[in-house]
């Protein structure tokens, strides 16, 4: 049969070399993640209990649970989603499906990409100026969530635009030639085929806002509140800030507590991610073209 040539053997060697190299990179990358998770579970695990999850902090936040912060984070993320998702999708639809390809559109696209790189503390200051003071929402869930929404908007727009552009142009052409308007085309063909990508992208990005501290610190999140928020105009506690507080601001906190808070926070983010990944896998299973 075929003899292995010198060339072949050499190729095989480089092939093996690169495989090992890439594998090592991957291991290197996941090491810190595993270490963080491991530390959190070992040190924070003992703190986790139903009581920890569902009661108020007591005794100057050195005992009790983190329920107000947990609930607050969910409020903040949900309201932020409600604001940024419709707005972001609409903007992306316009940019990808309607806007003419001219310098203005290109400038806007560039601006959006750059906006995604603005540090969150800058967004925080913007939020104070715009929502807390100018719109007079005060420091409240609404102001904090809108600040988070503004911060995530660029990412939402980019994720949506990419999903829209992954839908083959031929589908649009076919619809237009049939006498469909742009909107009919979007509604019947483009959106149904982009929506999985849009949603998973958005969930992934927005779940990260659960961990943001700076944007909410001055706009709506409180150090400690003895009551739960009742409307979006109330202030609230939030996990990320609570973690900062129990880790650095309050004396005599049992050492397992900050780890417990961090573990809950990370679990929420991972839960969101897992949801979006399963969702995406489910939709991938029914690939349409």
């Amino acid at each position: 049969m075929f003899q292995e040539t010198q060339q072949n053997i050499k190729h095989k060697k480089t092939e093996r070399l690169f495989r090992i190299l890439f594998l090592m990179m991957v291991l290197l990358l996941i090491t810190p993640v595993l270490m963080i998770l491991g530390t959190l579970i070992v040190k924070g695990g003992p703190a986790i209990s139903l009581e920890f999850l569902f009661t108020n902090p007591t005794n100057g936040m050195t005992e009790g649970g983190l329920f107000p912060a947990l609930l607050g984070t969910i409020w903040l993320v949900v309201v932020a989603l409600l604001a940024s998702v419709p707005l972001g999708i609409a903007a992306a639809l316009y940019l990808s499906e309607y806007a003419p390809d001219n310098w203005l559109t290109r400038a806007i696209n560039l601006a959006i990409v750059n906006l995604a790189g603005v540090p969150s503390i800058v967004h925080a200051l913007f939020g104070v100026g715009a929502f807390v003071i100018f719109f007079d929402f005060g420091t409240s869930i609404l102001a904090a969530s809108l600040t988070l929404a503004v911060m995530t908007l660029p990412v939402v727009i980019v994720a949506t635009r990419e999903s829209l552009q992954a839908v083959p142009q031929a589908f649009r052409e076919a619809c237009w030639n049939m006498g469909a308007t742009r909107w009919q085309t979007i509604r019947r063909v483009v959106l149904p085929n982009a929506i999985s990508g849009i949603l998973t992208g958005i969930i992934l990005e927005v779940s990260r806002t659960a961990g943001e501290t700076a944007p909410i610190m001055f706009t709506g999140a409180a150090f400690y509140l003895p009551f739960l928020p009742e409307s979006v105009f109330d202030q609230t506690m939030a996990l990320a800030l609570h973690l900062f507080v129990v880790a650095t601001q309050v004396p005599n906190v049992p050492p397992s507590m900050p780890y417990g808070v961090a573990l809950v926070l990370i679990s929420i983010v991972l839960l969101f991610n897992a949801m979006s990944i399963t969702f995406r896998m489910y939709l991938r299973g029914q690939k349409k073209w």
Binding site: A170, F171, W176, N177, R188, N193, K288
Partner: protein, 263 residues
């Protein structure tokens, strides 16, 4: 287009399509120029010519798809059913009267049923019974019904290439078109399916006008009543198909192309 439309000239009224001095540009580049032709009702009008000669651009002008392409501009006049297409108030209604089939089969990522029901739905037909009837009739006419009647709910984009091309024909028919434009439909289709579609077209000719852009010279010979030859952005000539293929041509280039001496 520049001129506002006056009343259509008499000859436009009894033609399905009449083209005068059509010129198409992309930006500053002329893609097709100096086209004058007319298409009779219920004829199959063949258009042959090598790639990039302007055939697709020509079709795009008739259903005003230039409107969707920012860099495309046209001058000259195009009458469809005696009405200047630039004066058509509602471009969507113009496009609904003209069915289009593309070179590569485009099964929309909808079910087989919805691929065919989409156009009627867009024009306001929503009763299930009506849609069922349209879907079956159009699939039958496109010679696809027997193959897909048991899987109307599976995705159209998962059918084989030949089936998808017949699906797009069924979809075009669901618009109840007056004019059917086929753009090199057989490019990605096996010979057997091509023959079946050709038979379908011969039947359809009784009810509608067909413009058949084709990369196969023999296909034009088999189907077209009259044929136009496009080359390098010009219409070189047009005539009765049998005349052209009998060698009665005005330009040597036409004969060379028909006989496969270049292309």
């Amino acid at each position: 287009m520049v001129n506002p439309s006056q009343d259509a000239p008499a000859q436009a009224k009894n033609k399905k399509v009449l083209i005068e001095n059509l010129e198409i540009k992309y930006g500053d580049t002329v893609a097709l120029t100096d086209v004058n032709l007319d298409i009779e009702a219920n004829e199959i009008y063949g258009i042959i010519g090598p790639a990039n000669s302007g055939k697709t651009s020509f079709l795009n002008c008739i259903n005003r798809m230039d409107d969707m392409r920012p860099n495309m501009s046209t001058t000259g006049r195009v009458w469809f059913n005696g009405i200047d297409v630039t004066n058509w108030r509602n471009l969507y209604s113009l496009r609904r009267q003209i069915g289009v089939v593309f070179p590569l089969p485009v099964g929309l990522p909808l079910t087989v049923y919805n691929n065919v029901a989409l156009a009627p739905q867009l024009s306001g037909i929503n009763k299930k019974a009506d849609l069922d009837e349209i879907v079956e009739r159009c699939l039958r006419r496109a010679a696809l019904w027997d193959e897909v009647k048991d899987r109307l709910d599976s995705l159209g984009s998962l059918l084989s290439g030949g089936q998808q091309q017949r699906l797009t024909i069924a979809r075009a028919l669901s618009q109840e078109p007056d004019l059917l434009m086929l753009d090199e439909f057989s490019i990605a289709v096996d010979p057997v399916t091509t023959m079946r579609i050709e038979d379908v077209l011969k039947e359809l000719k009784k009810e509608m006008t067909i413009i058949l852009v084709t990369n196969l010279v023999q296909q034009a010979q088999r189907l077209a009543d009259r044929t136009a030859f496009f080359l390098n952005g010009r219409m070189v000539e047009m005539g009765k198909t049998e005349d052209l293929f009998a060698g009665k041509v005005q330009h040597q280039e036409t004969l060379d192309y028909i006989e496969g001496r270049f292309g």
